[in-house]
C-alpha cells in the first residue's frame, strides 16, 4: 500500500527507448552496466522557450533495432517510440570494416535518416590487449573510417570505447565518455520528443471546446507529459501538469453549470456506485472513472508530487479545499449518491491524508502538522457525526432496520482496503465505527478531542470551542451532563471574552438545559437567571426560563450566590449624605440598577456592603477612590490594562564624569502583568451593610431606583463594597465596585465651656459666668452628670437661689445631638485672691478639664504704724482696684488682748465711695502704756462694702459684704528716742557752707526698756547724710552702749554743709549692735560670724525726734546762720 518511498514501482515507464543495431553480442555485454550508469549522474537539460535549465537524471530502455518500430514523421507520441539509435561494432580491422560493417551501417543509417531521425550514435568497442599497446598505432583506425564515411561533420556521433570488461584506467575514462555522450544525446532527443508532446497537448487543449473533445483522452495525454517530467525527477513541473488538469476540470464543471455542459461531462453524472477511500501513493485510474475516482486519482497524484518535493503539509492544506470542491462538483453535476456515501468518502479521504501526514509528523514539525491538520480532524469528526446521525448511531438512538441497511450499503460501497495488521486502514476504521454505537462513540469522541487539541495547539481557541460545543451536545445525548457542562462552560467563557453576547446567550441556554438534565438545581437556576436576563434571546424563551427559575427558587435549601454580571447592571451608586456622616445618623445611598429580568421580581432584601477602611484601601487610595459622591456605569467599567496609556518616562544614564552614557525610555507601571484567569471572588462581607427600608421590594425590568440606609453606629471610613440583591435564598451579588465610594462616619464629642462675660472677673463680688454645653453628634445618656470643682477660695453655683458651693454636680437636661445648653454659673472669689481654677469633670472626656480663671481684686488694703513719742497710731488704707464703684461702711478694727483703741474716723459712711485708684484711710490710736511692755497684737480690720450700681454696668451682686483684713503688730513699742542737732562750731554764730559744724546726737532710752534683756544694750548709730548736701567729716558711725549707763548719750560729729539754705538734718539711723565677742548667740555660729552684726529696729521702736528738722546754712562769707 505504501509505495511512495519507491517511486519506480508501479510508475508508468516513460524512459526513452534506445535501439541497438550492429553486433548485438557486443552490446549485450555492456547493456547492464550501461543502463545502470545512465541515471546515476545528472545532466543539464536545456530547454527552449526560455525555460530554466534543470539538471535531470535520465535512464533508458534498450530494444533491438527494427525498422518497422521506428516512429513516423510528425508523430506526437514520440515518447513511447524508440528515440535514440546506437550501432555497436567491435570491428578493428579496416578491411573487415570495408567489406561488411560499412554496408551494414549504411543500411542502418539509411533507415534512420529516411524518417528524419537525427539521433543516432555509432560505438566502436575496442578490446585492447596488453601486447597490442606496444605496437605502433595503425595509420587509420576503423573509427576514423566510420567518422569519415558517415559523420564527416558530426564527430560526436561516432565514439570508441575501450571495453570496460577489462580493468584498466584508460577504460574507465573512455567508459565515462561514452555514458556522458549517450546521456547528452538521449536528452537532446528526449527534449525534442517532449517538445513535440507539449505542442500536441497544447494543440489538443485548444480544441477543448470543439464537439467530440473528450476530457479523459486529454487527461491521459497531459498525464503522459506529467509522467515524463516525473520520470526526469522534475516533480514540481509534473505537479504543475496535474494542477492544470485539476483546474481545467473544475472550470469545465463550473462552465457546464452556468452554460452548456460539454457532452463528455455526462459520463461523470452517473449515479455514484463506489466510494472507495482515497488512497495516496501509487495508484491507477480505473477505466471510465466516476467523478470521485477521477478526483481522488488527481489528488493522489498531486499529493504524490508534493510528497516527492517534500511538501508534506501542502498535502494536508490542499486536502480540505479538495474535499470541498468534490462535494460541490457532485452537487453541480447532480450526481446522485446513496445517503451517507459522500460523507463516507470524505471521511475516508480525510483520514487517509491525516494518516499520511502522521507518518511524516516529527517532533520539530508538530507546529506545521497541527496548523494544517486541525481543520481536517474537525472535518473528519463532523463527517463521522453526520454518518452517525444518518445511521442511528448517535447515543440514545436505536438503529432501525432501514438504517442498518444503510450501513451495510455504505460498507459495501467503500470496498475492501485492508491495511497491514495492527494498522487498520481508514476504511477498516470507518466500517468498524459504523458497526456499533459503542465504536462510533469512541471514534467520534476521539476524533473530536484530537481536533480540539490540535486547534488549541495552534491557538485557534474559538474553533476548538465550537467543536467543544458539538462534543457537549454529544455528551448530552450520552447523558454525561457533567462533561457537557464543562465543555459548555468553556464555550460560554470564550464567547463572553470576545463579547459575542448572542452566542453567549445561546451557550447559556444550552447550559441551562444541561443542568436541567443533570438535575442540578443550583446551577440550573444560575443558568436560568442568565438566560432570562439575556436580551438577545426571544422573550418567550426568557419568560419560560424565568418562570422555571422562580419555581426552583423555592426548593433552594441554602443560599445560592450568583454574580450580577449581566443580570443586574449597576447604573449608578451615589451617597446622598453631604460630607461626613455623623454618628447615629443615617448613611443614605441611592442605588440605581438596571434589571434585565424579563419580569418583575420580588426582592427580599437589597444590601450594599460597607468595608471598614484597612491597609489595602489606603494603598490603592490614589488609584481608584472616587472622591465624588456618585459612581456611574462609566466608572464601573473594568479598564483593560492592556489598552491603557503607558506612562513612558525619559531615562538618562550618566557616566561618572557626568557625561551622558545612555538615553532611553522606561515604562514604570508595567502593564503586562499576567491577568489571573480566575479572579478569586472576594468573599464579600455583609456584616455591615446598607439596607433597604421598605421590604419586600419589587424589582421591575429596567431601571430601578433603590434607597438604602444604614444607621452609622461606629465611627470610621467605610468603602462601599458589593451590592447584593436577595430573592429568597437566591443571592445576586455584584463584583466589588471597582471605583470606591467612601462614606465617612464621624462622631462629634460634646463640648463643655465656661466663659466669662465681657468684663474682667473680680474677686470679692459674685459674678455670672456662662457654662455652655454643646451636645455632639450622639445623644448623651440621660443621667449624665457634669461635675464642677472649684479651687479654694472660689465658690460656684448654677442654681439661682441655692447657696454657693465649692463643687457642683449638674445633671444634663438636654441630651439631644447638637443641642446647646447655656447655664449661668454664679462665681464668687474671695478677696484678695487672684488665680483660681474650675475643674470640669465630664463623663465623655477621659481627663478633667481645668478652666483657669483670673480674678482681679476689688480693693486692696494696707496699714501703717505711726509713732509720736510713745503713742502709736494705726492707719489702714483701702484702695479701689477696679472701675467698679464701691461704697464702704462700718470700718472696724479689732485688736485683741484688751488693748484699747480709739477710732479717729469720720462716722458718715455715705461719702466713702472708692473706685479705681481712689483710697480711703482709717486711723486708730492704740492706747498702750509706755512703761509696760506691749504684747504682739493680732489686728483684724473689717469694712462693709457694697457695689454701687452705675448706668452702664449692671451689677448682679448688690449684697453688702464684709471685707476682712488681718495683720499683726509686733515690736511697735518705742525703745529709743534719738535727737540730732547741727550747731556751728564754737566761736561761730552761723552754720556756713564749707565750714565745719557739729552734729550733736542725743540718744535716749525710752523708760520701760531697762529691764528688757531681749533688747541688746549696744546701739550703732550711722549718719546717712545726703552727699550733695552734707559732708560728714571724721567718723560717721559709732556704737553707744546703755549697758552701764542709762543716761542719754550724746555724740558730737563733724559735718560740713555743702549748700546754703534750710537744709534737712542728716539722717541718723540706729541699729542694734551685736558685738562679735557676744556670747548671746545660742546657736553655734560659723567662724565667719565672729564679726559684729547690726540688726535693724522695727518701725516704731526708734522715735526720731528731730525728723523734719532743718538748719539754716548761710554762705561762707555771710554772717553765721542759726539753727531755727
Amino acid at each position: 500500500m505504501n509505495g511512495i518511498d519507491t517511486p519506480e514501482e508501479g510508475l508508468v515507464d516513460r524512459r526513452p527507448i534506445i535501439t541497438c543495431a550492429g553486433e548485438l553480442e557486443v552490446f549485450s555485454a555492456l547493456e547492464d552496466s550501461l543502463s545502470q550508469a545512465l541515471p546515476q549522474d545528472s545532466c543539464e537539460w536545456r530547454r527552449a522557450l526560455g525555460r530554466p535549465i534543470r539538471s535531470v537524471h535520465i535512464g533508458a530502455n534498450f530494444t533491438p533495432f527494427s525498422p518497422s518500430g521506428l516512429p513516423k514523421g510528425n508523430q506526437w507520441d514520440l515518447i513511447r517510440q524508440p528515440l535514440f539509435h546506437v550501432y555497436w561494432t567491435e570491428c578493428t580491422d579496416i578491411d573487415a570494416y570495408k567489406t561488411t560493417v560499412r554496408d551494414d551501417i549504411e543500411s542502418w543509417l539509411k533507415e534512420i535518416t529516411a524518417r528524419d531521425i537525427p539521433d543516432w550514435l555509432i560505438v566502436v568497442v575496442e578490446n585492447y590487449d596488453g601486447k597490442r599497446t606496444n605496437k605502433l598505432l595503425p595509420r587509420t583506425t576503423v573509427l576514423d573510417k566510420i567518422r569519415a564515411d558517415f559523420a564527416p561533420k558530426q564527430g560526436d556521433r561516432c565514439i570508441s570505447v575501450i571495453n570496460p570488461g577489462r580493468v584498466e584506467t584508460r577504460s574507465t575514462d573512455s567508459w565515462r565518455g561514452l555514458v556522458g555522450r549517450i546521456r547528452h544525446l538521449i536528452l537532446v532527443a528526449y527534449a525534442r520528443a517532449v517538445m513535440r508532446l507539449e505542442d500536441h497537448v497544447r494543440h489538443q487543449r485548444e480544441k477543448r471546446n470543439e464537439p467530440g473533445w473528450n476530457f479523459m483522452q486529454y487527461f491521459h495525454l497531459q498525464e503522459e507529459l506529467a509522467q515524463v517530467l516525473e520520470m526526469l525527477g522534475l516533480y514540481d513541473e509534473a505537479l504543475v501538469q496535474y494542477d492544470e488538469l485539476d483546474a481545467l476540470f473544475s472550470q469545465f464543471i463550473v462552465n457546464g453549470h452556468i452554460g452548456d455542459a460539454a457532452s463528455w461531462l455526462s459520463q461523470f453524472q452517473k449515479p455514484l456506485e463506489r466510494w472507495h477511500g482515497l488512497k495516496l501513493g501509487p495508484c491507477k485510474l480505473r477505466k471510465d472513472p466516476s467523478l470521485l475516482e477521477l478526483r481522488a486519482y488527481l489528488f493522489a497524484k498531486q499529493a504524490h508530487m508534493l510528497l516527492l518535493t517534500n511538501k508534506i503539509w501542502d498535502v494536508a492544506a490542499r486536502c480540505l479545499p479538495f474535499l470541498h470542491i468534490c462535494t460541490r462538483e457532485l452537487v453541480l453535476l447532480d450526481v446522485t449518491a446513496p445517503a451517507g456515501a459522500i460523507s463516507c468518502w470524505l471521511f475516508l479521504a480525510c483520514m487517509e491524508v491525516l494518516h499520511t501526514c502522521d507518518r511524516y509528523n516529527q517532533a520539530d514539525q508538530v507546529e506545521a502538522y497541527s496548523a494544517n491538520t486541525a481543520c481536517l480532524w474537525a472535518y473528519a469528526s463532523r463527517k463521522l457525526r453526520d454518518l452517525g446521525e444518518l445511521c442511528g448511531l448517535m447515543p440514545g438512538e436505536i438503529p432501525t432496520s432501514e438504517q442498518l441497511h444503510t450501513v451495510v450499503g455504505l460498507s459495501a460501497g467503500m470496498g475492501d482496503c485492508p491495511g497491514p495488521s495492527g494498522q487498520p486502514s481508514p476504511t477498516d476504521k470507518l466500517k468498524k465505527a459504523l458497526s456499533s454505537q459503542e465504536a462510533f462513540n469512541r471514534n467520534y469522541l476521539e476524533l473530536a478531542e484530537l481536533a480540539m487539541g490540535t486547534y488549541k495547539h495552534i491557538g485557534h481557541l474559538r474553533s476548538a470551542r465550537l467543536i467543544g460545543r458539538e462534543v457537549a451536545s454529544f455528551y448530552m445525548l450520552l447523558g454525561e451532563t457533567q462533561k457537557a457542562a464543562a465543555f459548555l462552560g468553556d464555550v460560554l467563557r470564550t464567547f463572553e471574552q470576545d463579547g459575542w453576547r448572542e452566542l453567549a446567550a445561546q451557550a447559556q441556554l444550552e447550559l441551562a438545559e444541561c443542568h436541567r438534565k443533570a438535575g442540578d438545581t443550583r446551577r440550573f437556576i444560575r443558568a436560568c437567571a442568565a438566560v432570562s436576563a439575556a436580551p438577545e434571546i426571544d422573550n418567550l424563551i426568557r419568560w419560560s426560563y424565568f418562570d422555571e427559575m422562580q419555581k426552583c427558587l423555592n426548593s433552594l435549601d441554602k443560599p445560592l450566590v450568583v454574580p450580577f454580571e449581566d443580570i443586574i447592571k449597576i447604573v449608578s451608586v451615589s451617597v446622598k449624605n453631604d460630607g461626613a456622616v455623623m454618628q447615629d445618623s443615617n448613611i443614605e445611598v441611592e442605588l440605581v440598577v438596571d434589571s434585565s429580568f424579563p419580569r418583575e421580581v420580588l426582592c427580599t432584601s437589597v444590601l450594599i456592603s460597607l468595608e471598614l477602611e484597612n491597609k489595602e484601601h489606603k494603598k490603592m487610595k490614589d488609584k481608584s477612590v472616587n472622591s465624588g459622591r456618585t459612581i456611574t456605569t462609566k466608572d464601573l467599567k473594568v479598564h483593560n490594562s492592556a489598552l491603557q496609556r503607558l506612562h513612558i518616562q525619559r531615562h538618562l544614564d550618566y557616566k561618572q564624569d557626568k557625561q551622558l552614557s545612555s538615553a532611553s525610555v522606561v515604562c514604570r507601571n508595567a502593564p503586562l502583568k499576567r491577568k489571573d484567569s480566575a479572579v478569586a471572588s472576594q468573599t464579600s462581607n455583609f456584616d455591615i451593610c446598607l439596607e433597604i427600608s421598605t421590604l419586600p421590594l419589587v424589582l421591575t425590568p429596567g431601571v430601578n431606583i433603590i434607597r438604602l440606609t444604614k444607621q452609622a453606629t461606629d465611627v470610621g471610613k467605610y468603602y462601599l463594597g458589593n451590592v447584593a440583591i436577595h430573592i429568597g435564598k437566591f443571592n445576586l451579588i455584584s463584583s466589588c465596585l471597582s471605583q470606591k465610594l467612601i462614606v465617612e462616619v464621624k462622631r462629634e464629642e460634646p463640648i463643655l465651656r465656661l466663659d466669662k462675660g465681657a468684663a474682667a472677673l473680680l474677686s470679692g463680688l459674685e459674678q455670672i459666668m456662662q457654662l455652655s454645653l454643646t451636645v455632639g453628634s450622639y445623644t448623651l445618656p440621660s443621667d449624665t452628670l457634669i461635675k464642677l470643682v472649684a479651687s479654694r477660695g472660689l465658690l460656684i453655683q448654677h442654681l439661682p437661689n441655692e447657696p454657693l458651693a465649692s463643687s457642683l454636680e449638674i445633671n444634663v437636661q438636654n441630651t439631644k445631638p447638637f443641642s446647646v445648653t447655656h447655664m449661668p454659673l454664679r462665681v464668687l472669689a474671695e478677696l484678695p485672691s487672684k488665680d483660681h481654677q474650675v475643674t470640669l469633670v465630664c463623663p465623655w472626656a477621659s481627663k478633667p478639664i481645668p478652666v483657669l480663671l483670673s480674678f482681679t481684686p476689688l480693693l486692696s488694703t494696707s496699714w501703717r504704724l505711726h509713732t509720736v513719742q510713745h503713742r502709736k497710731f494705726i492707719q489702714i488704707t483701702v484702695t479701689g482696684q477696679t472701675e467698679q464703684k464701691l461704697e464702704l461702711s462700718m470700718p472696724q478694727l479689732d485688736v485683741r488682748d484688751k488693748i484699747k483703741i480709739i477710732g479717729l474716723n469720720v462716722t458718715d459712711p455715705s461719702s466713702q465711695i472708692i473706685t479705681n485708684g481712689l483710697n480711703v484711710s482709717f486711723t486708730w490710736e492704740l492706747l498702750i502704756t509706755p512703761s509696760i511692755e506691749s504684747p504682739t497684737l493680732k489686728a483684724q480690720f473689717s469694712v462693709h462694702y457694697v457695689a454701687v450700681p452705675e448706668e452702664e454696668t449692671v451689677v448682679n451682686d448688690t449684697m453688702m459684704r464684709i471685707h476682712m483684713y488681718n495683720f499683726d503688730l509686733t515690736d511697735y513699742q518705742t525703745l529709743y528716742v534719738v535727737e540730732a542737732n547741727v550747731e556751728p562750731t564754737k566761736g561761730n554764730e552761723f552754720c556756713r557752707v564749707g565750714a565745719l559744724c557739729n552734729l550733736n546726737l542725743c540718744i535716749k532710752l525710752a523708760g520701760h526698756t531697762l529691764d528688757d534683756t531681749s533688747i541688746g544694750s549696744s546701739l550703732m548709730y550711722e549718719v546717712l547724710a545726703e552727699q550733695s548736701i552734707w559732708a560728714v567729716c571724721g567718723r560717721t558711725a559709732g556704737v553707744v552702749s546703755f549697758e552701764t549707763d542709762l543716761e542719754p548719750q550724746t555724740v558730737v560729729l563733724d559735718v560740713m554743709p555743702l549748700n546754703t539754705g534750710y537744709l534737712p538734718l542728716p539722717l541718723v539711723r540706729l541699729s542694734k549692735y551685736i558685738p562679735a565677742e557676744s556670747t548671746i548667740a545660742e546657736k553655734p555660729r560659723k567662724s565667719a560670724e565672729t564679726h559684729p552684726r547690726l540688726e535693724p529696729f522695727s518701725p516704731g521702736q526708734v522715735y526720731n525726734l528731730s525728723k523734719g528738722r532743718q538748719v539754716h546754712v548761710i554762705p561762707a562769707t555771710v554772717n553765721d546762720g542759726h539753727v531755727t
Partner: protein, 138 residues
C-alpha cells in the same frame, strides 16, 4: 453576492452583523467567530514580515462546504468579515476585494458620524442599508 457581513471590533466583539437570511444569523455568527482565529493568526504572522504598508485584505480565511469566509483588517484592527456562498462560482477575488473596499469606506463614513461612539455596536439604519446594498451587489 455575500450572504453575511460582520464587523468585528479590535477586542473581537461584534460591532455589526447582518446576513441576507436573518434565520441563519446564529449559524453565521459561529462561522464568523471561528474565522477570527485565522484573522489573529494572519495578523500575528504578518507582523513578522514587518512590511509597513500592510495589505488590508487578508484573502480567504477558510472555506466550508457551503461557504467561504473572507477577511479584511483595517489599520485600526477593525475586522471585516464577508461570508460568501461557495456555490457562487462567479464571484472572483477582485469582486470580494472591491466589496471590502466599499465596506471600509462606508464604515469610515459611519465612524465620522459625530453621533456614533467608536467601539459601540453600529445601529445606524443608513449604514445597514448601505451594507445590504454592497452584499446584494446591486
Amino acid at each position: 453576492m455575500a450572504v453575511c457581513v460582520g464587523i468585528i471590533g479590535k477586542d473581537n466583539s461584534p460591532k455589526y452583523f447582518t446576513c441576507l437570511n436573518p434565520d441563519e444569523e446564529l449559524g453565521f455568527q459561529y462561522k464568523v467567530l471561528s474565522s477570527l482565529d485565522v484573522v489573529e493568526e494572519k495578523l500575528s504572522s504578518g507582523n513578522k514580515t514587518g512590511s509597513d504598508m500592510r495589505e488590508l485584505y487578508l484573502g480567504m480565511l477558510y472555506s466550508l462546504e457551503t461557504h467561504k469566509v473572507y477577511g479584511y483588517v483595517t489599520n485600526t484592527k477593525i475586522k471585516f468579515i464577508i461570508v460568501v456562498d461557495s456555490t457562487n462560482t462567479a464571484l472572483r477575488d477582485n469582486e470580494i476585494r472591491s466589496m471590502f473596499r466599499k465596506l471600509h469606506s462606508i464604515y469610515a463614513d459611519n465612524v465620522c458620524n459625530p453621533f456614533y461612539i467608536p467601539d459601540e455596536p453600529i445601529t445606524s439604519k443608513s449604514f445597514d442599508r448601505s451594507v445590504k446594498h454592497i452584499m446584494t451587489g446591486a
